[in-house]
């Protein structure tokens, strides 16, 4: 797995405890991390806490290994895992089910009243790629990605067989990998 020279520089700087590396890391990925955390948790303070937590860990113990994937994937995996853990810690399954209707990918066009658009080209293309998925495939992905729901829970929520949810995931990844190939590392 190739690592970009910029990411390599960032990580080396972080491991050398250079504050400017932390600043650059935040400027590169912090906004996206916050956006994901907020979308999962639906609460600004909680989202801030999770992002801070991840950066704190990175500063004190940066364990990123380029052999295991891109820096972006690494950061998003940690962030999503933390945010979902936090979500589960104070949300019963009932609450999760109630909340599931809000777990949606932002639309390709227009803005949510609460949000401020990050209208760069990549974001727009990602939203378009997600919007191009068949509705139920996208829905299954949303419930898992933002809600941390299992396949079984999603099957129940969408009232489709478990095998159908599995195929939704497979097809979604295949399509997204193709449509977003220019952004893959």
């Amino acid at each position: 797995m190739a690592i970009s020279s910029i990411d390599c520089e960032l990580i080396n700087g972080l491991k050398a405890q250079q504050p400017e590396a932390l600043e650059r890391l935040y400027d590169s990925y912090g906004g996206m991390m916050y956006g994901l955390a907020f979308h999962i948790l639906g609460n600004r303070q909680e989202a801030e806490d999770v992002v801070q937590d991840v950066f704190l860990q990175l500063w004190h113990r940066c364990s990123y290994d380029p052999e295991r994937g891109s820096l972006r994937s690494f950061l998003m995996l940690i962030l999503r895992s933390r945010a979902l853990d936090r979500l589960r810690s104070h949300n019963s399954r009932l609450n999760m089910a109630k909340r599931s209707k809000y777990l949606t990918f932002p639309e390709a066009e227009g803005q949510s009243p609460l949000d401020v658009a990050t209208s760069d080209e990549m974001s727009q293309l990602v939203r378009e790629a997600l919007a191009a998925l068949p509705e139920k495939q996208r829905r299954a992905l949303e419930l898992s990605y933002f809600g941390g729901m299992t396949q079984q829970e999603i099957a129940h929520s969408l009232q489709v067989p478990l095998g159908t949810v599995k195929s939704y995931f497979r097809l979604s990844f295949t399509k997204l990998r193709h449509s977003l190939r220019d952004f893959m590392s």
């Binding site: 504050p19 996206m32 907020f38 860990q57 933390r82 589960r88 599995k166 195929s167």
Partner: protein, 257 residues
């Protein structure tokens, strides 16, 4: 579909399993199955990475702009002290209030996921077991003497090993996550010892680590034995057969400063 890493057509069932695995949407049993599969077929790890990459890009779909204040807070981190890894830091978590295990699991998950990559499935499996265990033992929920502790342990002799231990003494449960702790041969094990305020020294459990120096282990302990507050924890390397020979006991980690 053709798998770019193996140049082999990929079975739909397998691809579905890998997609569910990457999303963390499988059942614990399925997670373990995929985990075993990946260990036997490491060429598919590249497939996992590609799917993780898709997930990373998906985060760009979100619209919310981070508050300016967050940036300022992040930039003060270099001036902050280590809040998590401080040696010997004993944190009785709100005495008489039960620590939610999902939250505890989250803390360890965060600890482990930083380095584990795909191995965090093992953690999920452990947590799933814990959840089940908790569901089966809910009767002690209102016990007034319950105590929960979180300890951070660091390696002795300047080693880089770290561990986090969560103890619910009242419920008799211990969970430990480690990093950078070398695996031991079969005839030895790491021993987790608790030292209490009434001068007792209690063996919480034994464990070993994987080839990456990591583990997430769960022990059941007898709450009656813990008559005093837990002051500190130590981990020693010892032969499995005879723990009474202190001469063969090597202290490797401690929560002491």
């Amino acid at each position: 579909m053709t798998d770019s890493s193996t140049s082999q057509p990929m079975d739909d069932d397998l691809e579905e399993a890998l997609a569910g695995y990457v999303l963390g949407a499988l059942s614990p049993a399925e997670m373990v199955k995929v985990e075993h599969f990946l260990r036997s077929n490491p060429q598919y790890i590249e497939q996992i990475r590609q799917m993780q990459d898709v997930m990373g890009v998906m985060a760009y779909s979100t619209r919310t702009k981070a508050p300016e204040l967050l940036r300022s807070k992040i930039l003060t981190i270099p001036q902050s002290r280590r809040p998590v890894q401080h040696p010997s830091r004993l944190l009785p978590i709100r005495p008489s209030v039960r620590l939610p295990w999902r939250q505890v699991g989250g803390a360890i998950a965060a600890l482990v996921v930083l380095t584990l990559g795909i191995d965090n499935v093992l953690l999920r499996q452990q947590l799933a077991k814990l959840e089940l265990h908790r569901a089966e033992t809910q009767i002690a929920e209102d016990h007034v003497t319950e105590e929960d502790y979180v300890f951070d342990l660091r390696g002795t002799n300047s080693t880089i090993a770290t561990a986090k231990v969560i103890i619910d003494a009242d419920a008799g449960e211990v969970i430990i996550g480690t990093q950078n702790l070398p695996p031991l041969p079969e005839n030895e094990a790491y021993h987790l010892w608790a030292f209490t305020s009434d001068q007792s020294k209690i063996l919480c459990g034994r464990f070993n680590t994987n080839s990456d120096g990591q583990t997430v282990s769960h022990f059941s302990i007898d709450p009656k034995v813990y008559t005093g507050h837990i002051r500190l924890l130590r981990i020693s390397r010892e032969p499995i057969s005879n723990t009474s020979q202190s001469s063969r006991r090597v202290l490797v980690m401690t929560s002491e400063s």
